[in-house]
Symmetry: C2
Subunit: 415 residues, 2 copies
C-alpha cells in the first residue's frame, strides 16, 4: 500500500488554540482511498523544524500532505522552505494570476502585490485548484515521492482535496497495482452490538484478510467494512460481497449505507412522503428541533415545537393531561405518548416526536434511574413509544436521546 | 522555557476514526503552565515506531507526554516498549493493586489476572494517580528528561493531568527559574475587534515581551494575554498589570475572565437574582434552549420554550399578533419584541429571549440579507431587541445567534 504522512504547520495548534480537525478529516479520506496513514505530526512555523520533519517523513512515507503556512503574511513560510528544501525557485503561475485577477475583479477589490505573491509556486510543482481561496494547492513530485501542500483553512483544504487531490490519490493507488484496503461505513440503529454480530454471522473465515469493525456510539452501531484485495478492483469486489451480506441480514436496522447525517436522511424521507413534523421536548430542551433544522430547506416539513422542560409547560402550554403526570410521572410511556399526541394536534403536523427523560446527574430514582428516556411518536394518527436506558452523563444522555429519536422515526418511515 | 512534545499512540487516530482532541487539550493546558509545546505527533501501535519517535522527540524536548496504548489488550504495547527503551523491567505496584482491589470490590467485580496486569509499571517510574480508571499514569525521569504516560481515554487522561501532572509541571517550570510566558483568556462580546483595540490602547511598547491576541469567534472577541517574565512570578505580575488595564477599560463588555461557558455564567446569574427564563426560537429552532440546559440544575430557572419555526406557530401557538408579521415581517424588531413578550407571558417567566432571523442559504432579500437576525428580550416588564448581521453560512449564523442571545442577556444582568 502507498504510505502517507500528514504534517500540520502552525503555532496555533501547538498552543492548543485550535483542534487539529484537518488531520483527522484528511486521515479518514486518505484511508478511504486505500492509502495508509503512517504518521501525523504538527510543528511550529520554523524553517529548520519544517526541514527536519520533511527529512524524517520522507524516510517513512511515499506521500506527504502538508497543511498550513501558505498565507500571505510573514510567518507563512511553508512555500519558501519547501522550495529551498528541493533546491527549486519560486515562479509566478500565469494561470493563478489570471484566477486571482478574475476573483478580485468580481468583488471590486484591488489585487495588491501581497495578494499577487500567492501566485508564486515552486517551479517543479503542479497547481491543485482552490476554488474558494487565494492560495493554490501544490503537488511536487520527486522520483517516487510526492508532496501535497494546502492552506490550513479547513474549507479551502477540503475543496482542494475533493476537487483535485483525492481523485489523484485514488488514481495513484489504482495504478500502483498494489494490494488495497477500502473502507465503507454502514449506519445501524436500535440493534445491539452482540445481536448484530449474531445476526450477521461474519467470522474471520468469512472475512479472510478483510475486516469488519463494530463501532458503537450515541448514534447506534456503525459497521466499518475494510475490504482487502490484491489490487483496487479486487478490493471493490470484496466490498460488495461483504456489504451485500450485511444489507441482506439487517436491512430493517440500517439507517444509511454511507455517512449522511440523520437530519438530512429524515428530512428527505419527510419531503418524499409529503409529511410535516413537530417536536415536544423535555430533557433535550430544544436540541432535537435544533438538529432537525441543521438542514437547509427544513421549513418545507418542520413546523416547530414546544420545549416543555417544566411540568407546568407540559400541561399548560403543550396540553398534556395533568392526571397522566400525576399517576405515571412525566417520564413514562403514557406521558411520552400524550406529549406526541398533543404536539401533533396543537402544532397541526402529520408526524411528531416527544422526548421525556432523566438526563442527570440528579433526579434519578430506583425505578427510573438517570438515563431513563421515553421517546413518543405520532405518525398520521398512530402513536407508539420507545424506552431507552442510556448512561449517567448528562450531555451524552441528551445527545443519545436526540439521535435515537431521529433514528426510530427514520426506520419507521423507511418501512 | 521547558520544551515539551506530545505523542499520541493509536491506529484509530491514523485512520481518522477519532479527532485527536486529547492533544489540543493537553497543548492548551501545558501552554497555560508556561511550558512550550514544540511538536505533536501521532503514530500507530508499533514497537519500532514508538522507539523511533521517542528517539526523535527526546532530541528536541525536555518533557514528553504520551497518551494511548495503556489498556489491557494485546495491542496496547506502550508500557512494555518504554520499559524496553530504558532497559527497565516491569514491577507490580502494591499501591496500585490495592487501589484496583478496592475499586473492583466496590462494584462486586472480580479482579482478573488481566486487570491486575494494569498494576505493572516500569521500576523507574512514579505513579500519577488515575481516580476513575484502572490504568495508572506514569512519570519516568531520566536525567534532565521526563516522560509522562497516560491512557488515551480523554476523561482518564484529564483526571491524571489535573490531579497529578499539571501541578508537577507548574512546579518544574517555577523551579527552573527560567523565563516564562503565562496565558489568560478574557471573553468579551458585543464589541468589535477594532473598537476593542482603540479602547484598550495597548501597543507593543506597553506590552514589551508580552503579547495580546484578539481572537474573534461566534462567541465574540476573546482576548488572549501572553504575559512574559524572567521567571514565573514576574510573569504573574505582568499578567496582573495587563489584565487590570483590560478590565478597567472594557468592563461592561466582559462576559468572563476565564473560559466558563455562557450557559453556566447565565444560569448562575439567573439563580443569584432568583429569575426564571423561557425562550421563543425561530431560525435557531431549539438550539438556544438546548444550550441553556446543558448545565445541570437548569430546571431551577429554565421553564421551557416555543420553537416557532413557521409563522403559523408564531401566531397560533406563541400568540404573536399576525398584523405585526404582516406589516413588519417575521424578521423584524417588532416581531422579536412581541415574541419575547408573548413568550414571557404565556410561559410565565421573569425573563425571556426570542430569536428570529434568516439563517440561509435561502430566504434573504436586499433589505434583509441572509445572516440578518433580531434577538428580543423581556426582562421583568422591560423589552428591547438587538439586530445582528452575521454571515452567509447557515449553521454559523444559527450558532452565532445562540451565543449572542446569551451574551447580551449576561451583560444586561451583570449591570
Amino acid at each position: 500500500m502507498i504510505k502517507s504522512a500528514l504534517l500540520s504547520i502552525g503555532d496555533e495548534i501547538l498552543i492548543g488554540q485550535i483542534v487539529n480537525s484537518n488531520s483527522s478529516w484528511i486521515a479518514k479520506e486518505i484511508t478511504n482511498c486505500a492509502c495508509e496513514v503512517v504518521k501525523i505530526s504538527t510543528i511550529g512555523d520554523g524553517k529548520q523544524e519544517i526541514i527536519n520533519e520533511l527529512d524524517d517523513l520522507l524516510k517513512i512515507a511515499d506521500l506527504i500532505l502538508i497543511t498550513g503556512g501558505l498565507g500571505p503574511t510573514h510567518d507563512d513560510i511553508t512555500k519558501q522552505t519547501i522550495c529551498e528544501y528541493f533546491n527549486d525557485t519560486l515562479v509566478e503561475s500565469a494561470e493563478w494570476v489570471a484566477k486571482l485577477e478574475k476573483q478580485f475583479a468580481a468583488r471590486n477589490w484591488n489585487l495588491t502585490p501581497r495578494n499577487r505573491e500567492q501566485a508564486l509556486i515552486p517551479s517543479c510543482s503542479e497547481i491543485l485548484y482552490n476554488r474558494i481561496g487565494t492560495a493554490p494547492g501544490m503537488l511536487i513530485t520527486k522520483g517516487e515521492k510526492r508532496i501535497i501542500c494546502m492552506p490550513g483553512v479547513p474549507q479551502e483544504m477540503k475543496c482542494i482535496m475533493e476537487d483535485a487531490a483525492l481523485p489523484k490519490i485514488k488514481e495513484w493507488v489504482k495504478e500502483s497495482g498494489e494490494e488495497a484496503i477500502i473502507y465503507k461505513n454502514i449506519q445501524t440503529n436500535g440493534i445491539s452490538e452482540s445481536l448484530l454480530a449474531d445476526t450477521l454471522e461474519i467470522d474471520n473465515s468469512y472475512l479472510g484478510q478483510s475486516s469488519l469493525a463494530f463501532l458503537p456510539s450515541y448514534k447506534g452501531v456503525k459497521l466499518r467494512i475494510g475490504a482487502y484485495g490484491d489490487n483496487y478492483d479486487a478490493a471493490q469486489k470484496e466490498m460488495d460481497r461483504i456489504s451485500d451480506r450485511i444489507i441482506g441480514r439487517v436491512k430493517n436496522r440500517i439507517i444509511a449505507i454511507d455517512e449522511t447525517p440523520y437530519p438530512k436522511i429524515l428530512g428527505d424521507l419527510l419531503l418524499q412522503k409529503g409529511l410535516t413534523l413537530s417536536v415536544a421536548e423535555s430533557c433535550t430542551s430544544g436540541m432535537l428541533g435544533g438538529e432537525i433544522c441543521s438542514v437547509s430547506g427544513a421549513s418545507e416539513y418542520f413546523r416547530g415545537g414546544i420545549i416543555a422542560y417544566s411540568n407546568a409547560i407540559k400541561t399548560e402550554v403543550l396540553g398534556v393531561d395533568p392526571s397522566i403526570i400525576k399517576s405515571h410521572g412525566a417520564v413514562s410511556e403514557e406521558c411520552a405518548i400524550d406529549m406526541a399526541n398533543k404536539c401533533a394536534l396543537n402544532l397541526k403536523s402529520d408526524v411528531s416526536i416527544s422526548i421525556t427523560g432523566i438526563a442527570g446527574p440528579d433526579g434519578g430514582t430506583a425505578d427510573k434511574p438517570v438515563g431513563t428516556i421515553w421517546i413518543g411518536y405520532y405518525v398520521k394518527g398512530e402513536t407508539f413509544a420507545r424506552k431507552f436506558h442510556f448512561g449517567f452523563e448528562r450531555e451524552m444522555n441528551r445527545e443519545r436521546a436526540v439521535q435515537s429519536a431521529m433514528a426510530e422515526l427514520i426506520l419507521e418511515l423507511q418501512k
